[in-house]
């Protein structure tokens, strides 16, 4: 699965990226601690999953992922944050998971395990754009992109 990490705190960014990098089925396509650079890059790279903080300086992580989901409706969003207060909104937005810092390996593994289940084996691992076919899941519509997938 192709993952992009966006976190305003370079240390936290390094920790998240470091943990993610240790799984053979994860391909870290990019990361940034600058929200505007990161957003443009993420749109260009079209990852399967975005790991993002709820605070990105002047921009909220929820607004950032909303914007990304408009461009990439199949994107899964996983929040990695110090703050508990946006978890209800994250559910409303159809976020895939919400992890509290410091990020723990065991908890992360549960997220990744479930992520594999959600999108089967159809993740691209070779850097090419090869998104899973989820058209059958999108019939419920709604304004949340495709919700969980």
């Amino acid at each position: 699965m192709r993952i992009y990490v966006l976190d305003g705190d370079p240390e936290a960014l390094a920790r998240t990226a470091g943990l993610l990098g240790s799984y053979p089925y994860v391909k870290l396509v990019g990361s940034s601690s600058d929200p505007s650079v990161g957003l443009n890059e993420a749109i260009r790279l079209a990852p399967d999953v975005l790991f993002v903080d709820t605070h990105l300086g002047s921009l909220s992580g929820l607004a950032a992922s909303d914007r990304l989901k408009r461009e990439l409706p199949r994107l899964h969003v996983v929040y990695v944050t110090e703050s508990r207060e946006y978890a209800v909104e994250a559910f409303e937005q159809g976020a895939f998971d919400y992890l509290i810092k410091p990020l723990l390996r065991e908890r992360l593994e549960r997220t990744l395990g479930r992520m594999k289940l959600f999108c089967g084996g159809s993740f691209s691992g070779n850097g090419k754009l090869d998104l899973p076919d989820i058209s059958h899941l999108r019939q419920d519509g709604g304004n949340d992109g495709c919700g969980q997938c």
Partner: protein, 388 residues
């Protein structure tokens, strides 16, 4: 899709039922006013989704969700609550959604869309991590089935064995601790019907395969051969079953004040000792460990029952009863825990289901103590109903 609704407030249940009926995609088949009642029903009813309130008097919704997630992993959980404070825990519990009361039709519709499109978790407990218990996670698991977690693959994937015989050889040598086992004993055990010379050839192949796997995955472990005997050196590693036995024996009769330690230890017990392999030589150890788990859980449940939150005891005992469906003591303790939580109805139902199970499966009836307990609880429940 069939849903169960759990909320201690009847009007909230009815409101949600009405909304679900008018949406039509999910059938609100069962309405429960306590989590205990819901958990009892989940054991016999086929349910795809549970709409769960959080703030309830006995067992709260988070505890119930944890139980459901562990024991019925295919069931989707949607919290419906007046509190916004537990959404992080809801994510931890892999809830599909988290709805704030009062629930509106549009937001509920969105949640239903997510239930309908969510992939099913695999049945059984394949998805449970090997263990989250304790400071050290054993890398050699023998409870439920043999799993060897190696350093090579991020410690997530169990080692794959080339042949079932190589796996059994490894499991048996592990079972015997680090003792020497004579070659003849191994060939008799693994290839009982084969001529000695052929069996020895097979043994050599299995030893070779096992060594190859160890070299790659567990370089600290060594399979040694000397004077026609084999032994497995572990490099200090302890299996989950060994740790469970060692610490469990020490904790029996001394659970009070060590509840958290016991709870962590019990979470190691993912299933019977090597139960998925049906190795005849593992049976007596399996029986010992099963008894130990039963005793420890009952002791822990007893402590929890007397504590301020009997929900914990219900949780433990309901899970134990899944594994020990005919155990009288488990049934009695579960009835007492329901009583302590102020829920005689669930206590009585628990007995009735137990009695039916005994009758259907074994053609017997509950023993005298269990019956007396039921009569006492049922009498009180009737008395209350008569007064009401």
């Amino acid at each position: 899709m069939r849903a169960m609704l759990i909320d201690d407030e009847k009007p909230a249940l009815i409101h949600l039922e009405r909304l679900l009926r008018s949406d039509g995609r999910v059938d609100p088949a069962l309405l429960c006013t306590s989590a205990g009642e819901g958990i009892e029903l989940l054991r016999t009813e086929r349910i795809d989704a549970v709409f769960l309130d959080i703030g309830m008097p006995e067992m709260n919704g988070l505890e119930a969700a944890e139980y459901i997630q562990q024991n019925h992993p295919g069931v989707a959980i949607i919290f419906v609550t007046a509190y916004s404070d537990y959404a992080v825990e809801a994510f931890d519990l892999q809830a599909i959604d988290y709805l704030l009361k009062p629930v509106g039709a549009a937001r509920l519709g969105q949640a239903i869309g997510r239930i309908v499109s969510a992939p099913k978790a695999p049945e059984g407990r394949e998805y449970a991590p090997p263990s989250s218990a304790g400071s050290r996670t054993p890398e050699i698991c023998t409870l439920r089935r043999l799993e060897l977690y190696g350093a090579a693959a991020g410690a997530v994937h169990p080692v794959k064995w080339r042949t079932a015989k190589a796996q059994e050889l490894f499991a048996y040598l592990l079972h015997r601790g680090e003792q020497w086992v004579p070659r003849g004993g191994l060939t008799d055990l693994l290839w009982p019907d084969m001529p000695e010379d052929k069996a020895v050839t097979h043994l050599h192949t299995s030893v070779y395969q096992t060594r190859k796997i160890l070299k790659e995955w567990k370089p600290e472990m060594r399979l040694e051969y000397r004077q026609e005997s084999y032994r497995l050196l572990r490099g200090g590693a302890e299996t989950d079953a060994e740790r469970f036995g060692r610490e469990g024996e020490r904790l029996i009769g001394a659970v009070k004040g060590r509840e958290e330690q016991v709870r962590q230890l019990l979470s190691l017990y993912r299933g019977g000792y090597l139960e998925q392999h049906d190795y005849p030589w593992a049976e007596s150890r399996a029986e010992q460990l099963k008894r130990l788990r039963l005793k420890l859980t009952l002791e822990l449940a007893e402590e929890e029952r007397h504590s301020a939150r009997p929900g914990g005891a219900i949780f433990l005992l309901a899970a134990l009863q899944e594994e020990e469906p005919f155990e009288e003591e488990v049934c009695r303790q579960l009835m007492l825990a329901h009583e302590r939580a102020g829920d005689r109805k669930s206590a009585c139902r628990c007995y009735e289901m137990f009695a039916r199970r005994l009758d259907d499966e074994l053609g017997t009836e509950p023993d005298l103590r269990t019956r007396q307990l039921y009569e006492r609880l049922n009498g009180q429940a009737d008395g209350r109903a008569a007064r009401a």
